[in-house]
Amino acid sequence: MIKGQGRAGYWLYLVPGAILLTVIIIVPLGWNVYLSFTKYRGIKPPEWNGLENWKELFHDAEFWASFQHSIVMVVAMVVLPTVFGLILASLLFDLVGRRFDGKIAGLLRAVYYLPQILPIAIAAIVVGWILRPEDGALNDLLDAVGLGGLQHNWLGSPDTALLSIGAVMVWIQIGYPVVVFMSALQRIDPQLYEAAELDGANWFQRFRAITLAGIRPEIFVVVLTCTVAALKVFGPVYALTRGGPGTSTTVPSYYSYTEFFTAQRVGYGATIATALTVVVLAVAIFFVRAQFRLVDEEAR
């Protein structure tokens, strides 16, 4: 806040954003919550049926299974990319960038980021085709290096489909934390690294004491945005496996989509979507509060 100017006037700046948010998000969301308490198949008007959908949800094994698949997605889209992202960003910045050439580090970072700019429709075409059982590139490659015995129908068998999507998500996601963390590292005083090095600290010690401590705010941003993305992941599942084979790759978001548009059970689809919203909202509030507390502590 700027001294001498009250806070009140700032509310004005929120007006356009708030109107758009209300029309495009809040009203449809409210509508969706309402539908979750109705029986509605999209033709006759919605019929209020109280908590029926919610009771069904709690006993719906497919719903709970879809949430278990979400845990795999969180590992693939949050845990692994953040950990690898931290290590790669630190290696690129601390060792490759400073010891070899900043240009090499910049180029490598851009290469890591490439899968991030791939449209999911395209990524799915590329990956789906690499993992194809008959003439897919991966099986061809395994054969070429003498590991033909490992050939598999990667996306088509229930035992590997979810893990295959997970592997694809690691590939897609890694560039995001690397880019964010590397830009965060620019903010750290380079003399810290040089002083630590003179004191004989090795890469791992510098990583822990300087890198990790210095970019905490960015770690929050990455973990929050990736967790939200992982919990509501839809595109890759839709494009790669349509939830199958069977229900082995169904996630909550995809499950609600099929209830909406395939099963025509709009009310129940709305219940799943609302439940998912509640979970993601709780996670987001948890992170934002922790982040605000951290900022307040550092400001003290």
Binding site: M1, Y13, L29, D101, L108, L118, I122, V126, S183, Q186
Partner: protein
Amino acid sequence: MTAQLMDDEKTTETRAPQNRRRRRTGLEWLALAITVLVAVVMIAPLLLVVLNAVKSPADFSAHGPLGLPTEIYLDGIKTFWNAVDFPRKVWNSLLISSAVAVLGVLVSVLNAYALGIGRVKGRMWVLVAFLLATIVPQEALLYPLYIMFKNVGLYDTIWSVVVVFIVIHGAFGTYLLASVFGAFPKELLEAAALDGASRRQILWKVVVPVCRPTLAVLAVFFFIWTWNEFLIPLSFLVSADNQTVQVGIATLQGERIMNVTTISASALLGIAPTLLFFLVFQRTLTRGITAGAIK
């Protein structure tokens, strides 16, 4: 959040020469080897696409996906280009993504000004409310939005998609910029206020110019994200004339079984514009950031 998200090699570059005199250790070579190896793995699928986009179907069935093409074959690309009316789809995508990049950043700036610099009361909850836009699963919005757009005549126009993504991506922009503005140098704001600048003047003459590099990065993100969006354009842009590149590719896939070379060609053409945009703007961003960096 720092002011620069993407490109700033300056710091590392200028320091390199003095370090180069020292002998590199085995660990440093190992680090280079690891990071290069990861890069090779990351880019391999894309190289495969290029390789197979210029291969004839006969060549593919004879030598498989890993063999080098025996001759450059462009019919796959031609077939795809004509089948989806590619220029038209690119134009639609371009229009939608540019509009979201500009208007989304504008809305984010206004929101973040109130939250990050104005520090309005209850700003955490206001922020969470905005974040709802990225929290709500998109498929939960489809049905209500469909009815609303139908009623106001926005259904099957590119503006329906533009409005939705201004809000959805603007939520991320608000979150990011609120933390950037939160760390804005107080002295600059107070000096401007002492000179008698109004709140509006401070925003446009002080805050926005200083943060321009971040805003540029945000605009690039918005552009790429919107370009790549799939579910909402698929649902609201039903006529072929309004469709985006992604929807066009997906529809074509559904319509007929394409052979591998056409699939690769479609993938190549689907990636090419974003890739081009990314390469062009990575340079612009570097320049913008060095010029406007907060020190």
